[in-house]
Amino acid sequence: MVTAAVAQRAEASAASVARPVPSDPASARVWEVAATVTDPEIPVLTIEDLGVLRSVEIGDDGAVRVQLTPTYSGCPALDAMRDDVLLALTHAGYDDVRVDLVLAPAWTTDWMSEAGKEKLRTYGIQAPTGSAAARPAGPVRVQLAVKCPRCDSLNTRELARFGSTSCKALYECRDCLEPFDYFKVL
């Protein structure tokens, strides 16, 4: 099954690229600065929490090279994140900085850190439920229940599969009656 093959690939890539924090101290310092940049749409999450920050390298000539990966192909927040990484590093005294965007391996919500998921929930956005590899296949599928981030009720209802951004769906809680965003599994 092709769908199964895609799922396996997602699982393999998620395992092989978990948290690529560099080990040498100089690169780790650059990583720490870049990792302070937040998502302009969801300011409680850093690009490290999101898994958007992929790698950091310092060349022999001192040139800094940072790799970011887009969450969604058309995500307009990416340009802002790229600018902000550049600004943060320039601010920290690095004067030869390049930020590259890479598509492979493709970003998945499985890269989101547990700390990031907790911050999302506190912010009022429910974090992805389950892993991308385990997403059910087939065109007609049953959606797993999504918990309300405010009252933890599972008695919720999807209002729109595409919410304020591609990455989120809009839900409503039938117990506390509040609407909330749900960060979809990708």
């Binding site: 058309g74 600004l87 320039t90 004067d95 900085v97 930020v99 598509l103 492979a104 599928r141 595409f162």
Partner: protein, 289 residues
Amino acid sequence: MSGADLDPHGDVHGDVSVDRLALADELAGTAADGSTAVASEDAAEYALRLGDDALVLAQQLGMWIARAPELEEDVALGNIALDLIGHARSLLHYAGTASGRSEDDLAYWRDEPEWRNAWLFEQPNGDFAHTIARQLAASVYLFELYARLVDSADPTLAAIAAKSVKEVDYHRDHATQWVLRLAGGTEESRRRMLLAIIDVWPYVDELFDDDELVERLAAAGIAVLPSTLRPAFDAVIDEVFAEAALERPAGRTAFIASGGGRRGSHTEHLGPLLAEMQVLARAHPGASW
């Protein structure tokens, strides 16, 4: 420039970014290892076809913003269009590497006969049911295509496919949910859904036409031969239609559009769409904001 000169709230931010970003590689041009991949002439033509499909569909969908049946649908169709623009940017950027043209050159400065999208994607939005019928056919086709293109021998195409397939999965899901709701809704919504499928389905066959280019590329393991996608496409459509108590229009008994989009021959709907999409860039070359 020293860090002390930077005021994050001033326009220094913009100046710094623009200067430095000009040096950065564009979105799809950087492979995982940081090198900039250049497409072969054949791969560029193939990427152009896929990119044009995505961009033309995105432009059509964008016209629903502020006009959809409900606010949530404005947002959903707008977000789907945004995903498709992302795919188109990557694909057109890659296509342009073979001829030294940028994604914007390709989007704004080609005339109608130079566009390579299939006719399905340029068909008008019609009523909401027509848009959903077109979305179902388009997203099921794109899902099956990208799910196989992830194994392409061309690493850039494989990377774009791996990124896109996950997003198209949600588009397919969105279209499926609406087909079920419209077909199982009121007498009027069902009547419109049935009519929309009859009107849209003649444009499905073209998606699965092979020609010399894709045969060459498929032999090299780069492209997916379109005809090989048909059984999987029909199986998914049959599953959705069975759930919605609809029938797939029977093969050649229905009118079949002749197609020709891959050769630059288009229906009357592409010209006005391009005119609207390109007018600003052509009236004010290099405009930015």
